[in-house]
Chain length 501, copies 2
């Protein structure tokens, strides 16, 4: 494999569109995922972790974002073996395609239905941009092998429980449910779809789906333009529309705006809109079942509601679709208030396993955008950030490292995070800078003088942080936030200061 | 990018050398990693999660296993932008190379020394084989920016604490410490190395390192053959040796066998062996410091010992090297008793950051082989496996799903894992098979008759599991492990059975 000529020194940077996570961002994500996994587990879902790499053949062409059909996966070809060309391998772009592969591969051993959750990174070979990364976390739960609307209703209920469990209170989110069959029915009624020839109008249908999916961003007028001839955006760029007639577009717009004050009223309105379409009527009945199960289960419109404007861009959904939106406002990069928006979505899909086995296997599932949900929790102060670092034991005499190590061992034994300064101890100022950079709450000092007298200095850095960087050792030692205690009281005094901070 | 012609249906299998993890294997690994992270954190290490993808340029050619120099990374080229050819990207093959990149990239913002831990998958483009996978987990801790032997000693102590914390009791493991400088000194004395021209004999030195590293597998005679002319293995394959004279080989063998009953005696023996080599004397002094710090810290030879036969194959180590071995026996695939062997290793390295910045940055760190350690804990029964699945509420009347959902909601609210059967409820036997496959402890039944009488049937499946698969519903209902209770006692009765099981 030919590789590019190397410059003298390699550039120290992550590839474009990739990023590193430090400290709290790692541990908080871990805590959030654990809380989510606990809910999924209680609902009966089992953990599954597939390999990050799949054959391109197994992944198929199910890249979810139909808006960017040219963008894809990170793929490479294996070395050939003799005459046999190597397989093409690729990084998974979501958790659903690998699930379909695993289910097809192990279907005889797995329970049926198979209910699993999966969490981990996925990769998209997209053009990186501000806030758009090529590796990000997903956290999915799917029920494979169940055609029952109870499975969809349960995923919606679980999503609601999950959000509350990680710290989004009721009222700050809503799970919206819709059904693709209803939209298809509406499009049949409008003449945009032909039930006897589903492939006809396929591209128009795709444009309609994507247009509705942009309601948040473009507003009603923008969507209306995209349903018709097309739309020129603020930059002057023109996007072709679906080419619907005014009458057809009105019908689709009517569907999007069919939401009423109660679920029952919305369902009644949808029934009117799909009259004459078998698919549409079936979709409304599915929605009715879901609505019934959820409201019986106590998941009322304060948590989950029927909303015909939800369509989800993803092409492979065949029935119910759902998404979770956080409804509180945040300030965007320009300081404007905006709704936080969607953090999870999913729906029912039937064809993913069929690709492998020829048998249609009904499935439904949800994917949580982990990074977005974590950002929301951080923005709302719902994640406990570790703001203080370890206790730092400074090194006054490098020949007495064993003494210093003994101190941190004592502290660690009672669960206090602690470390000896391991850099070059010659410059004491560097030790204080280090403690500052670590956000250490406490520094411990035992010079030769202290050692002789059997005492140590314990410095409360939370009190003294601001002056520590400039003061000399002597000044610093005289500051009121420093205590001299007998060596034997190290742990007790540190605990006392930590409890007061 | 040309892709192979697709067959009619894709094969449902993971690529060769990759595997999926189900249920307990996922959750137990998560628990183990959490326990490890807690120890690392208490020692003052911060979490870092780098992207899985790096530029090939940044990764460099530090593939650890010098035994297989032709095997490497999974790499691909980015699309070109205009005239500019795309960068080569690759999956990380370990956690150390990305750490060097991150440290070089962020060195002005990071504390110095920088102490971080990292856990996650790494990828190796090796030929897959039995038990050899191309994706596996590593869990590392490194201190970058410290030349102090206290940093190495601390990593050894932390490794010891970590093993005990995850469930390997003292006595079942040993952390062995050695120093590359001592080996280099011995090789100088033997004339295998020339301190004034370190590149001379480089390949001989590599062969010596790898030969010593194989002591476990080949025994003393095998290593001796590889130090000399070479070795023919059982299959008749011949491996070229380092070409040392008998006298030289004797000196190296003497080093490997320099371990004595106590650390002090071993160090004394090593001092004799390196006489006349400045590097060797420096190495012995480093080992003395480590040994002193560890024994002062209470980490005696029952946990950590000096062992000159430890060299670690990895080419980039420059000073102390260490590894953790589990000393208990397990049965191998052929039923023979064997020592479990190494589960972690590491050492000091200086050149990784220098590649980027030109500045030498001393660093030392350890990597735990997560899959091997987990396998050891599972083999010893130290991981709590979840052997029972969720309570399954069966569906006797699909029109009453809301009733069944209400039952699982009640159970989940008190923390009991529960689910409604979501497959096709028509065949009740399938529901029981499902419960069996899920290892459900309890099935709940509420048919029309029960509903009318306000009762439910609660079946203890742990007692009744064996007969459940063949018995008819009527037989099954009459078995003694089934209880009829009022609907209102669902939670209480389930709790009672779970507590008794």
């Amino acid at each position: 494999m030919a590789k590019p000529k190397k410059p003298q020194r390699p550039k120290a940077e992550a590839p474009k569109g990739f990023r590193d996570y430090f400290g709290n961002d790692v541990t908080q994500r871990g805590e959030m995922l654990k809380a989510i996994a606990d809910v999924y587990h209680r609902y009966g879902f089992d953990a599954l972790e597939t390999s990050a790499v799949e054959t391109v053949e197994a992944l198929g062409k199910f890249l979810p974002d139909v808006d960017r059909p040219n963008e894809g996966v990170f793929a490479w070809q294996e070395d050939s073996e003799g005459d046999k060309p190597g397989d093409w391998l690729a990084l998974r772009y979501d958790m659903t395609a690998p699930l379909a592969r695993v289910y097809a591969e192990h279907r005889n051993e797995l329970p049926n239905p198979y209910r699993r959750y999966a969490m981990g990174p996925v990769w998209r070979n997209e053009k990186p941009g501000p806030g758009r990364f090529r590796q990000f976390y997903q956290c999915d739960a799917d029920t494979v092998g169940s055609a029952s609307m109870a499975a969809d209703a349960e995923i919606c209920a679980m999503l609601s429980d999950t959000l509350e469990s990680v710290g989004i209170p009721r009222g700050d989110y809503v799970v919206r449910v819709n059904n693709r069959k209803v939209l298809n029915g509406v499009m049949e009624v409008a003449g945009v779809l032909d039930p006897s020839d589903p492939d006809k109008f396929a591209s128009e249908r795709g444009i309609v789906l994507r247009a509705i999916d942009k309601l948040d961003r473009l507003g009603l007028d923008g969507v209306r333009a995209l349903l018709g001839k097309g739309r020129k955006d603020d930059s002057g760029d023109y996007t072709d529309g679906a080419g619907l007639t005014d009458e057809q577009a009105d019908i689709v717009m009517g569907f999007m705006q069919a939401k009423r004050d109660t679920g029952a009223e919305t369902l009644a309105r949808l029934s009117e809109l799909v009259q004459g379409s078998e698919t549409g009527v079936a979709g409304v009945n599915e929605l009715k079942t879901i609505e019934y199960l959820l409201s019986e289960g106590g998941y009322g419109p304060d948590r989950i509601e029927i909303d015909p404007s939800v369509v989800r861009g993803l092409g492979y959904y065949t029935g119910p679709v759902y998404e979770a939106e956080l409804t509180f406002e945040i300030l965007d990069e320009k300081g404007r208030k905006r709704n936080f928006g969607s953090v999870a979505g999913g729906g029912r899909y039937d064809d993913l396993v069929k690709r492998f086995t020829g048998q249609e296997v009904p499935a439904t599932g949800v994917s949580i955008g982990v990074d977005r949900l974590l950002a929301a929790l951080q923005a709302k102060g719902r994640m406990e950030a570790e703001t203080v670092g370890p206790v730092v034991v400074t090194v006054m005499d490098r020949g007495r490292m064993a003494d210093y190590q003994a101190m941190v061992t004592e502290l660690r034994q009672v669960g206090i995070r602690a470390e000896v300064y391991l850099g070059n101890p010659k410059n004491f100022g560097n030790q204080l800078k280090y403690a500052d950079k670590r956000s250490s709450p406490i520094a411990v000092i035992e010079g030769g003088d202290e050692k002789e007298r059997g005492v140590i200095q314990i410095k409360d850095l939370v009190l003294g942080a601001k002056i520590a960087e400039t003061a000399s050792l002597e000044e610093w030692k005289g500051l009121p936030s420093q205590y001299e205690v007998p060596r034997g009281q190290l742990v007790a005094k540190v605990q006392e200061i930590l409890n007061n901070d």
